[in-house]
Symmetry: C2
Amino acid sequence: MALPTDEIRAFTGKVLRGGDIPEVYRTDRSGYVAAGEPEVLVLAADVDDVRRAVVAAAGAGLSVVVRGGGSGLAGGAAAGAGSLILDVSGLNRILEIAADDEVAVVEAGVSAAVLDAAAHRHGLRYTPDPASTAISTIGGNIATNAGGLRCVKYGVTGDATLGLDVVLADGQLLHTGRRTAKGVAGLDLTSLFTGSEGILGVIVAATVRLRPVPIDTITIAAYFDDVESAAAACAAVLAARVRPAMLELLDESSLREAQDLLGVRGESAGAFVVAQTDGFGARAEADIVAKTFGEFTSRVRTGSDPDAAAELLAVRRAALPALERHGRVLIEDIVVPRSRIATAVRRITETAARHRSRINTFGHAGDGNLHPIIVVPADDPDAYTRAVAAADEIFATALELGGTITGEHGVGVLKRAWLAREQGPTALRTQQSIRHALDPNGLFNPGKAL
Amino acid sequence: MALPTDEIRAFTGKVLRGGDIPEVYRTDRSGYVAAGEPEVLVLAADVDDVRRAVVAAAGAGLSVVVRGGGSGLAGGAAAGAGSLILDVSGLNRILEIAADDEVAVVEAGVSAAVLDAAAHRHGLRYTPDPASTAISTIGGNIATNAGGLRCVKYGVTGDATLGLDVVLADGQLLHTGRRTAKGVAGLDLTSLFTGSEGILGVIVAATVRLRPVPIDTITIAAYFDDVESAAAACAAVLAARVRPAMLELLDESSLREAQDLLGVRGESAGAFVVAQTDGFGARAEADIVAKTFGEFTSRVRTGSDPDAAAELLAVRRAALPALERHGRVLIEDIVVPRSRIATAVRRITETAARHRSRINTFGHAGDGNLHPIIVVPADDPDAYTRAVAAADEIFATALELGGTITGEHGVGVLKRAWLAREQGPTALRTQQSIRHALDPNGLFNPGKAL
């Protein structure tokens, strides 16, 4: 099937066909590659382009795969045979910053980093902070309900999302939500589209909440003998009523690899934790964090120097790229109740041994959100099969400990088989009925998310 | 239509029929009374009762109206002709408090006050704090996504709701969400049911987030010459990066009436604001709040004495009951962007004059959520008609200022006509299609919410 040429000419944005479409659109950062070649790529320049592309795709029997920064980690935006790719990264205007109301209105292609920088000029910030903040789009962040480093205090992307503009399967433009701090009129469509992974409609704009830049920020780093004591220290911090803005954990080799990539001569340790406190209580909270860490290790470093803090955070952010040097990586994303973090890490270590896989774990200890990274060396032909078996065991561990298979990356294509195991047939059937109600002909992202 | 006697016998809970059903089930705290008499009242004792009642009602052609504390403010739980009332207030067990994970699992009939008290024994609290906390149920709070006094810092009921158990139209039990701090597997059904006002299913249990009891709480009260300066002072506090846990405003006569009801000889003023700061930064934030208020009035009182704070909050909480002494009240619930609070209050004053209605306004200044209370004296036969016209004008004001017709009370039956004006036909159609997908035969709360 293909789009008639007249329909293509109608777009103000650029349109590419078949073999002219860059290969990158068949994949995302997960490494998953969709089967077959997509038919059409529409580089939309405005909402009208999006509406016309949706109607045209429906008429031509093509499916619609929405694309932002292409930084997804579950294959959700990978486009294959029979698809029209709707690249909305060109919708990249900040439409409004209402500083008094702490609200911004942005198009879907704006990156969180760009919005955050713009908000800073008003003494505000956009708190959602996915690791991909510089390369992902806010539309993609919303479509996956992305997390990041600040969730333990400030919540996830959905917590900052007040309203959306969405192009529906019939090409109509839907406005959801509001720009006020509260509001309960009607069903919460904003939350329904947030995290829906492109299966219900095309997010073209969002009204989001901004927050004041904190008056003070303090960074505390600590080096522990092992992950158990690091996890116990994190739990003790939270039990001390402290609400850090960040509480990140790296295991031994994640730390070493990150230091190596950055070329820093850091301390070695069985586990590394970096925390930040912010706001009016930052110093009081930092003192308690440092004192609490001090009950589990003698190596605690505290400072409010932004450069020193940036260096410590750089180590955390370098963990994934450092591991990617060693081959393809399977980036997992489980969440367990916070009290089970140490158990989860121990189980992951056992899984790694059982499947002769290299698995390094880091993540958001404050949320119980762990990223076990399974490294698949290129020179080991059997490694991928073992890695997949290890990943399955990690998902099973998450469910067994009362957790979930994905905390912030989404289901995409890679975790579909596990969704039913987590949620059961009634939840799956309910979701399918909603999907069918909004997209009766299965136009949007077929084969993904559910 | 009526339920066959055999079906009724199957319930372990108590069942009443026709004329035996107390009149109170036809109304709620809004004063709205449903037309006709409900057919059956099921006082459910457990989830099985709920499932059987739903299946039996569907079989008998009755609609299902779910009832908790009956404290709704929009008529959403008022049951009329052709209905089976499913009273779930008997499902009132706290099933679990997992202090380490800051999570509780409760049945729908538990009140927020009871849960909060139980959480306190673990050094935790349940932050959603609707004014009805002692008489409403958490199931009703979730069904309306109730707000309250602490939303400006801690969010609304939905922000504390991690997962739900819901009985669907076919009697199946749906589990939504999770018990972890984060999770993005599948569509966000938890948020969809939160605020759905009984039209999608019966909420029977919830997994909710708890938070540490703050280490410190300070109360600041200020008396202003007029509402304009009070609203400006509130805006200035928020612009100073302070995040109070509470920021409540009362107009002149709300304050006087509340003081009168309580028998306290308080100060008189054109407007009254009570704020609280809490946490590790409470003192630093309170200093800024007091200093900022001081730029708008000389009458600022600060204290950390719990008794003095309780007295100030009692004034805020007494505002509504004080006005209810003067007749039936229409309790409105608009939200405007925070920068428009003073404009909204001025417009409401003009509306009161135009319709010769008594309207007192108080509300959550930190959220822009105002409760204009229209008093309908019993001895004024024409007052109700004028009050309804005034309410319509207030809704129009809210929309004109970029706000919403309901911040925390819901649409129920009383605001249905205004929902379409706020959201437009596409949003309404989308919501109706979701309702139809989950409840194809219109079993749940027909004529409500949409």
